[in-house]
């Protein structure tokens, strides 16, 4: 189970502007993450939970909360 808090913590470590409040509804493109940082976050979540994001579905993600949602969806689908 991937929690929004866990994703927020990962992102919080990467962003330079620490004053931005991170919530499930925070839009990802407002964070100014580099492509390298994004791949870092994505694969750290995958590594920690042993699954792989579907890249097509991942491309549709816009907020922090949706990352956790898609991750849990994928993990649940894999477990069935």
């Amino acid at each position: 189970m991937v929690t929004t808090d866990e994703v927020i913590k990962l992102i919080g470590k990467k962003i330079r502007n620490k004053s931005i409040e991170l919530t499930a509804a925070t839009p990802l493109d407002s964070l100014g993450l580099s492509s390298l940082q994004i791949s870092d976050i994505v694969f750290e979540i995958e590594d920690a939970h042993g699954f792989e994001f579907n890249p097509v579905k991942a491309a549709g993600i816009t907020t922090i909360g949706e990352i956790a949602e898609l991750a849990n969806e994928t993990i649940a689908a894999g477990a069935r």
């Binding site: 100014g32 492509s35 390298l36 870092d40 994505v42 792989e52 890249p55 491309a59």
Partner: protein, 329 residues
């Protein structure tokens, strides 16, 4: 490292080494270039040069051979010391370059718009160094090299890029000190093996992107303007047989004749013989000739149709195609 930081780094990596060369010249006024400086320069040039040629280029970007984990990481770190950008970003740009070489979307084609002599000079500058100044240019690692971005070691090495570059400048200082036992030896070691080395090697590498797509001979009528540039071959460790490389990107050897020296291929061949590298991609003469004939019939150059027709972004629609695994043991 975001676009702005990358640009600032590239400017620093271009200007500071130039100042280093000036400092070296000033020092030379009083003191002759010593043997320790030559050793340090040669050692560091070889480490960083093979790091980029074998590590970043043939091993990471094109998976031309497989090797043990520690050698894989060592090559990636050596390539990082060349100060040409983090491994994952460098590789993403390079794979994109191959996908659309000398066409729209190529990050560093010298055919950058316009015709005439001025456009050519501008294009050469763009392909050489100008493209690295574009803050907005990104080649998404998730699209171009998910296999590498998925690798925890490579992510760590890419994240610690600046620290590794700095280590690559302190190393020649330590080497200079070890060889001479003096602080001056450490300083000139840093200047020659650190700054001057970065300056020389990076311009050799960038010349493959600029000169190597304009001036030189073409054995293969590839659908781009890649050229084989003999005079750059030794200094680039074989990278300048660039037309051969565009014809067979995965080949571990870029030199394809006895008179095409390719030091990187010799090193990979040696690793293979002693059991430290395997699954080395080789292209025999018959395949080379068949491809040369086929391409000659199809017609080459930057206006020719590119293969494969579908870019990676479209292939991503099929999840089966995106399932990649690391190529290391």
């Amino acid at each position: 490292m975001d676009g702005k930081e990358h640009k600032l780094f590239i400017i620093a990596a271009s200007v500071i080494p130039l100042l280093g060369v000036v400092a070296v010249m000033v020092l030379l006024w009083n003191r002759v270039f010593g043997w320790s400086d030559l050793v340090v320069l040669a050692v560091m040039y070889t480490i960083a040069g093979l790091g980029v040629s074998i590590g970043y280029h043939r091993m990471l970007a094109h998976r031309a051979f497989r090797t043990h984990r520690w050698i894989y990481d060592a090559f990636a770190v050596a390539g990082t010391m060349a100060a040409q950008g983090p491994a994952i970003i460098w590789t993403a740009h390079h794979r994109r370059h191959h996908r659309v070489a000398d066409k729209d979307g190529d990050p560093h084609s010298p055919y950058h718009g316009g015709t005439g002599r001025l456009a050519l000079v501008r294009g050469l500058w763009h392909a050489h160094l100008g493209w690295l100044m574009d803050e907005k240019l990104t080649s998404d690692p998730l699209r171009y090299c998910p296999d590498l971005a998925r690798d925890r070691h490579l992510r760590w090495i890419s994240r610690h890029f600046v620290a590794i570059v700095v280590a690559g400048m302190l190393l020649p200082a330590a080497l200079g000190f070890a060889l001479t036992g003096s602080a001056l030896g450490a300083l000139t070691g840093f200047l020659w093996g650190g700054l001057a080395r970065i300056f020389i090697l990076n311009h050799i590498t960038y010349a493959i992107n600029s000169v190597g797509h304009v001036y030189g001979r073409r054995r293969f009528s590839t659908p781009d303007e890649s050229r084989n540039v003999a005079w750059l071959s030794l200094a680039s460790f074989g990278e300048s047989w660039h037309n051969n490389h565009h014809a067979f990107p995965r080949s571990a050897s870029h030199g394809m004749r006895w008179y095409e020296p390719d030091v990187s291929a010799l090193v990979i061949g040696t690793l293979r013989r002693v059991g430290l590298a395997w699954d080395v991609i080789t292209i025999d003469r018959a395949r080379q000739e068949a491809r040369a004939e086929g391409l000659a019939r199809a017609g080459g150059g930057r206006h020719a149709a590119h293969q494969p027709a579908a870019p990676m972004a479209e292939r991503m629609v099929d999840p089966a195609l995106t399932r990649t695994t690391g190529d290391v043991e």
